[in-house]
Symmetry: C2
Subunit: 240 residues, 2 copies
């Protein structure tokens, strides 16, 4: 297929395909004598992957890293993507709920706190927060909160599924740096691709093994996953 066919099929612009070629994200399998780009079916599958990751907010650079990673597995990636989309749908649902409440409050049927009015945008309200405050002190938690998004119960549920798929991705190549990259990517996604302090990131890893509540949740998808994640997160944060 040539550029315009692909563009019409997928909804992206020709310029975008050129751009993806330029940055090496999607290089067409074939090129004609005249220099025309010709995309294979394999290319289309890759494009599908790219568009999914793009939809959930990954920057192109990260997408490239992911696809280039030797431990990358298409099938498992699709499963991971599925969970991400479900998580994003959850977020939308939270936003819809927030709007419904806002509508009620605008009609004077109820009142809302400022925090409530932004639920769905900042994931405020972490069920583990109070526990964390007791355990590590307020400063540590506040510092972490500055950079790390918090989750509600529903989000937690989705995270569990994502954990399980990460465990699957890990199965192929347990200690590989690529797995760490995948975790970092996933983490960045959950944080809406925001930046976060590396200490906080590593600290979160510590939390996974220090708090048995977390450990249980995580390990139910693979014995020792919590420890692995902590190590991976630590290694990743130190590598920066």
């Amino acid at each position: 297929m040539k550029v315009k066919e692909v563009a019409d099929l997928t909804g992206v612009s020709v310029r975008t395909l050129h751009h993806y070629d330029e940055i090496g994200l999607l290089v067409p399998d074939n090129v004609t004598e005249a220099g025309y780009r010709v995309y294979s079916d394999e290319n289309l599958t890759t494009l599908q992957q790219i568009l999914f990751f793009r939809e959930v907010g990954f920057p192109l650079k990260k997408i490239k890293e992911l696809l280039d990673s030797p431990s990358f597995n298409r099938l498992e990636a699709f499963e991971l993507q599925r969970d991400m989309l479900v998580a994003k749908r959850r977020q939308l649902e939270t936003m819809i709920e927030t709007i419904d409440k806002t509508l009620q409050s605008e009609r004077g049927e109820m009142t809302m706190t400022n925090e409530e009015r932004f639920k769905g945008f900042d994931f405020s309200s972490n069920p583990y927060e109070q526990e964390a405050r007791d355990r590590w002190g307020d400063e540590a938690v506040d510092k972490a909160n500055q950079n790390v998004s918090k989750f509600g119960e529903k989000e937690q549920e989705e995270m569990n599924r994502i954990y399980s798929n990460l465990a699957a991705l890990r199965g192929t190549d347990p200690a590989a740096a690529e797995a760490q990259a995948a975790i970092s990517d996933w983490y960045m996604f959950l944080n809406k691709i925001g930046d976060y302090s590396m200490e906080a990131f590593a600290g979160l890893g510590e939390m996974y093994v220090a708090d048995e509540r977390f450990t249980k949740n995580i390990d139910q998808f693979g014995e020792g996953l919590a420890v692995f994640m902590r190590d991976a997160m630590k290694a990743y944060s130190e590598s920066k």
Copy 2:
């Protein structure tokens, strides 16, 4: 509230608030002697609106136009936003379905056409398409398709609700240019903020009154809405 408080509450960066101030999108109601920005509750409500519109893909310039419009009504805007979010959730659901099918086909349980593999991204498959081809000829339809997104039945359903809210927004100020701007904004949203040719846009308006199937659907939310929309779309396209 000062910048950082607002930033922490809403999840946006301080820089973003500065930026919104710079471009006049969200100017704090108060400023201290020292020049510190102080945001009122009213400012927060506006910010909520901004973030909602941003979430569904509106460019900041359009958001500003909308908010500045004298006929802008907060309550109805929230209702419109709700419908947009629901529409986006629908899109996510389509994407999830697509992934599920992709997973099956990857496992060799079924085969997919290339079109199917990109459903949810390009909204391909318009139930009215064949009718349109018969009525206006292929070139016209193809031309329109180049710039205008197509919808499935589910999307059509959501569009109906959006129409109804547009009718409400229109109620306050029927012939105003702002209503036309609102329609254009809404239309751009449905097209994923893509560009479109003005002739195609105006042509679509013609379709609304020419095809009684469309007319019925639209007018059920207000007598004459289809005609109004056609005129608005025509006027808008000519104004460019």
